[in-house]
Amino acid sequence: MQSVTRQDLLDTALEKLADGTVSHVLGWSRGTFDYEATPTLFSDPDTLRTAFVWNDFCGANLSKYLIKHTRRLEGRLLVFLKPCDTYSFNQLLTEHRFERERVFVVGVPCNGMADPRKLKAQADGILSVTAEGDTLSVETLYDGTRTLAVADLLEERCLTCKSRRHAAYDLLLGEEGEVQDSARFDEVAAIEAMSPDERFAFWQKELSRCIRCNACRDVCPACTCEQCVFGNPSSGVENKAASNEFEEKLFHIIRALHVAGRCTDCGECSRVCPQGIPLHLLNRKFIKEINENYGVYQAGAEVGTRAPLVDFTLDDPEAETVVRRGDDA
């Protein structure tokens, strides 16, 4: 259950719309089913009242939409950001993707979001989902009404949440959380501990599922190039579909590298992947390497910091040292 209610968010949005602070509100509305939410831009209070939702399924990070909407619209936009979303927000500001003054950030505490995939794995034929405290009451076609604990349905990224403290806001609802001492690098370490053959087999299997829908790229708040290298016919690597295993790797390696040092680890890539590839483990590998070799760095923790891959020190370790670092461990 979330610690602030839909009504809290709604009241804030209505108030800011009414007093002219903002002209639009970027939030969520119910998706096709109760366990889905669609990012939605509201300008009309009545629509806001009827369609706005805030529940355990508002996982979508709204920060990237700010680029598009601030370009398209006049006035100021109110956006609801969960703690992890605020890191993306800061990173976008660092990269000058929109102006800070155009946005009114309402920080929303988050107790972790439920994963529809986990829900669907536990309940077949879901007719409705109602939140009841820390549980969801799930009406199904085949097993009647079931009660499932939200805690058992949390998204993987929420289980290793890096921070419940907002990195930016103009107005905070509820209580501020703390930066978490999360075990988010454990999975990376587990892969590192495998033999090269096992690692190869692991990634071969995962990446061969890729259908190159580009959802990971299109949702990624760090992927904001006006034209992506993979969509540029003169780049030499442009491709619509991964023709073979090489191109699957090429796409994911290069994409991860392009966002390395800028990726805030929001986990949207893995959330949207229709094939369930744990893409965040690629980005997290870079974060781990950066932390271990160049000093701990959290992209988006502050505005205006220099990303590690456009920076250096005179005594950085050599590439070989970096690659061999884990061997003795």
Partner: protein
């Protein structure tokens, strides 16, 4: 009608696979199922449907069309098509069977696409009737009965038996070859299951979704509808919906320089991509709104207009399940269908 015990299915499928390459839905460790070439120990998945349709088997994500050898000013065209062998696709859901019909009308209409045609002509389709529809299913919207006979052969799986019925001559021959596994059966169990499934279908959340407002000749009614703006507003412009769609058939043709020749291949393309219609002198679909509109207008209006009213959506529900922002054809139909002008 013929039947076999559920317990003999592994042996039966092995026998099929030993005679002809066999593809069937197999569970993955991701909790979904995919059409997979039969292997020893492959279990027929009980999933409501596969993560992707059987489209890949007829229209693969990438396929080489032709090769060229160039030297100086000369060009040599190499026909690299290979003989297609017969194969069996087992366990195709009725919506996906309909989807193949949608693809057929594109690829088998003149001029025939020989690549697709070769695969179609060598395929035998065994349909698996539905008995456990899920919330994303809405095949009924497009007039599909997921319990009815279709494909070359249809199977109905009950608790302990699999019932078989051929729908085509080719299907009859297929069943004849499996004679050792099958015994005669009456259709009592199947009829009962069909009634049970029909009751379940009527309880699905999208059961009341209607396509009546759409179809050929409705371009003017929907093209300038104000709702496209809001519907497309949060679309990421990714290709998920098009790539999981069993009927989306748009493709791109590209050349790949291998270093010792050129291979011209085609690959799936998506009308959701910004460069889909981009030309040297501009782009007729400049924003995501136009691209989003194109996809749904094509499924609901343009395609039926060119194909005797057949919609190019079969209600399989994959795009509903996979869209990162939960925006899909059901929402589009609900929004537009309510107030067609």
């Amino acid at each position: 009608m013929r039947k076999c015990a559920l317990s003999v299915m592994p042996d039966l499928l092995r026998a099929v696979a030993e005679a002809t390459p066999l593809y069937l839905p197999v569970d993955t460790d991701k909790g979904d199922a995919l059409f997979t070439r039969w292997f020893e120990g492959a279990d027929w998945s009980g999933a409501c449907n596969t993560a992707r349709g059987p489209k890949d088997l007829f229209f693969p994500q990438t396929e080489d069309l032709v090769a060229f050898k160039t030297a100086g000013k000369t060009v040599e065209v190499l026909d690299i098509r290979r003989e297609q062998e017969d194969f069996v696709v087992f366990g195709v859901r009725p919506c996906d069977v309909k989807a193949i019909e949608v693809l057929d009308r594109v690829f088998l209409s003149e001029p025939v696409d020989s690549f697709y045609a070769a695969r179609r002509n060598h395929a035998l389709i065994v349909t698996a009737a539905c008995s456990r529809p899920t919330e994303t299913c809405f095949c009924g919207t497009f007039g599909i009965d997921p319990t009815a006979l279709c494909g070359d052969v249809t199977v109905w799986k009950t608790e302990d038996h699999v019932y078989w019925q051929a729908a085509t001559e080719q299907g009859e021959r297929f069943l004849a070859a499996l004679d050792g596994f099958l015994e005669d059966a009456d259709d009592t169990a199947v009829t009962a299951q069909r009634a049970q499934t029909a009751a379940l279908l009527s309880r699905l959340p999208l059961h009341s979704l209607r396509a009546d407002a759409f179809g050929g000749g409705k371009t003017e009614a929907f093209f300038d509808h104000p709702a496209w703006d809001t519907l497309s507003q949060s679309c990421l412009g990714c290709g998920t919906c098009t790539f999981v769609c069993p009927t989306c058939q748009c493709y791109d043709i590209k050349d790949f320089d291998t270093g010792h020749g050129v291979v011209r291949y085609r690959c799936w393309d998506s009308c959701m991509y910004s460069d889909f219609t981009k030309m040297a002198h501009g782009n007729p679909r400049l924003t995501q709104k136009e691209r989003f509109r194109q996809r749904f207008m094509h499924k609901l209006v343009y395609y039926p207009e060119n194909n005797d009213g057949l919609f190019s959506c079969v209600g399989c529900g994959r795009c509903l399940a996979k869209c990162p922002i939960s925006m899909n054809i059901a929402t589009v139909m609900n929004t537009l269908g309510g107030d067609a002008r």
